[in-house]
């Protein structure tokens, strides 16, 4: 079994290193979701790295496609492809585009335009229901993309059709493109909104592996409702000078900043 602590640690180092090398953006949102991805890919999801499209796999739809480095790094660490392959990230001709691409093994869906994946996940979950499938459907949304109306169409749809084979995880890092979620377009009371829409609604510390493992393991027991897990996270988590800083939605680390970031990550998660 993969250890989620070491998976998140190695993935974070990979994220900052690749962002530095390729001058990539969206490092903050990749670091905020790393622990959720590490727990999912270490002890929750059913998958086979040698058969990425195996019929009985759990399906994960990554709606916050801009935070691609988080998913690319974790999928590489668990063995969907080599470090060399991921090293082509954003190079001419590479399928590792800077919004996630389904042409990469292990990626179910290309995203990048926000507010798309949840509807598709609903369709997949509906198919699962109609076929009495045993697999489960997961979708990871950013907080900012909850501004998109299409998400709320899907948020109405899933409970109405009792899609209890669907789990949504919101990476609630509280910062979107132009500033805090609260100031740009307030989502609160977010939990109440999901409850009112008919979702089994859980809040969790999105960096606490044990708590994440617990809620992700136990949410499938609801009889009729889909589940939404509001994961309270910190944008830029793991690198103190990136944490809660809007600038790291855009910036890539300089040589000095990379060195410093790797030192911090080594101290926190050796």
């Amino acid at each position: 079994m993969i250890d989620p602590v070491s998976l998140s640690s190695s993935s974070r180092k990979k994220i900052v290193t690749l962002a530095h090398k390729n001058k990539a953006s969206h490092i903050g949102g990749a670091l905020s979701i790393t622990d959720v991805l590490a727990v999912l890919y270490s002890c929750i999801l059913k998958y086979d790295v040698n058969k990425p499209l195996s019929e009985d796999r759990d399906r994960l739809f990554y709606s916050k496609g801009h935070a691609c480095l988080g998913l690319y790094a974790v999928l590489q660490e668990v063995g969907f492809y080599s470090a060399e392959a991921l090293g082509t990230f954003t190079a001419n001709g590479s399928y590792f585009t800077s919004h996630v691409n389904h042409k990469v093994p292990g990626i179910e869906l290309s995203t990048g335009s926000l507010g798309h994946a949840l509807s598709i996940a609903c369709g997949v979950a509906l198919a699962g229901k109609r076929k009495n499938a045993t697999w489960h459907v997961y979708t990871i949304l950013s907080d900012g993309e909850l501004d998109e109306g299409s998400n709320w169409e899907a948020l109405l749809f899933a409970p109405h059709h009792k899609l209890n084979n669907l789990t949504v995880i919101v990476d609630y890092n509280k910062i979107q493109s132009f500033g805090s979620v609260e100031k740009v377009l307030n989502l609160e009371p977010l939990k109440d909104k999901f409850i009112a829409f008919g979702w089994n609604t859980i809040e969790v510390d999105g960096h606490d592996h044990e708590a994440l493992s617990d809620v992700l393991s136990n949410n499938k027991e609801t009889a009729t409702k889909p589940t939404v897990i509001i994961a309270h996270t910190i944008k830029g988590k793991g690198v103190p000078f990136m944490e809660n800083e809007l600038a790291w939605h855009y910036k890539s680390p300089s040589d000095e900043q990379l060195k410093s970031a790797l030192e911090y990550l080594e101290i926190i998660n050796p």
């Binding site: 869906l109 798309h116 598709i120 609903c122 997949v124 076929k131």
Partner: protein, 296 residues
């Protein structure tokens, strides 16, 4: 046309268990027979077309051949990005069906005038764009889409369009279809302008040939090249904006085959289409077509 569509869809669904129909809370008195025969492959998703298109993509990813059904601009223009990115980039088996092409819902106003769909949708890779001209063409197109696993767009009229083709006259999906044989001038139509063109040629005894072009993309360039060689003058007529529409598609194809030296010269081409206007007053389909200049 919508009746022909649903009848053919039911016939196919009896033998093809992958066919799934989603409606956006529209289709009253049309889709009920499908819903009652195949309840596990039918869903009214509500008035939420973007979600409908995403749900269709998800169902298609799991092996269904999904038809989304609504009026005119709602399953099309409103969902352009879901169609482009979710359906067509992933090359999923979703067929978008719009009823009320052109001014079919004339009195309902500009919201229901479906006059930019062909131009917008034919720019998207992987998407077949089809506007049948009569119930026979509709059945042919529906049959094709039921047996294809590629994205498709089916632009229908409403109900009650006359049958132009003979039932016995079997033809191949994707081909330009000869309707009337004449000389000198060839008229190319798409969608339900077919019946207007047929009536006009017969009533006025003009010696024109008439071809129906239900599949706008990919264009049947082999037949088009033969037509271009045979006639001195071409006319296209469509119930759609001129910019990016059917006439534009014909002109682009003619230019390509001219550049490939398949034809020596492009014959003079008159494009009859909506001249970049909205019509903000009520009217029947026939009235609005005249107002827009969609007459010979």
């Amino acid at each position: 046309m919508r009746t022909a569509f649903i009848e053919q869809l039911i016939e196919e669904a009896k033998v093809n268990t992958s066919i799934f129909l989603l409606v956006g809370d529209l289709g009253y008195s049309v889709v009920e027979p499908f819903a009652s025969l195949f309840p596990d492959r039918f869903l009214n998703v509500g008035i939420a077309e973007q979600n409908m298109t995403g749900v269709a993509a998800g169902l298609a990813a799991e092996g269904y051949n999904v038809f989304t059904y609504s009026i005119g601009n709602f399953p099309t223009l409103r969902c352009m990005e879901q169609i482009r990115y979710d359906v067509c980039y992933h090359n999923l088996s979703v067929k978008i069906v719009a009823v009320g092409g052109g001014y079919a819902y004339g009195p309902l106003g500009v919201s229901h005038h479906t006059t930019e769909d062909i131009g917008m949708l034919r720019t998207i890779p992987n998407l077949t764009v089809c506007a049948p001209g009569d119930p026979i063409e509709t059945k042919l197109a529906t049959k094709h889409f039921c047996n294809s696993n590629q994205p498709g767009y089916l632009r229908l009229g409403k109900a009650g369009e006359p049958v132009i083709h003979s039932l016995a006259n079997a033809f191949e999906f994707g081909k330009i279809l000869p309707v009337i044989d004449g000389t000198a001038t060839a008229v190319l139509t798409t969608g339900s302008m077919l019946s207007y063109a047929t009536d006009y040629i017969k009533k006025n005894a003009v010696n024109w040939s008439l071809y129906s072009v239900p599949v706008i993309k990919p264009m049947d360039t082999v037949s088009l090249a033969e037509i271009a060689k045979k006639y001195k003058q071409l006319i296209t007529i469509e119930e759609h904006q001129q910019s990016g529409g059917f006439g534009s598609a014909v002109l682009e194809a003619l230019n390509d085959i001219r550049n490939q030296q398949i034809i020596p010269v492009i014959p003079p081409l008159k494009i009859i289409a909506i001249p970049d206007i909205f019509i903000g007053y009520a009217g029947t389909q026939e009235f609005l077509r005249k107002e827009a200049g969609l007459i010979f």
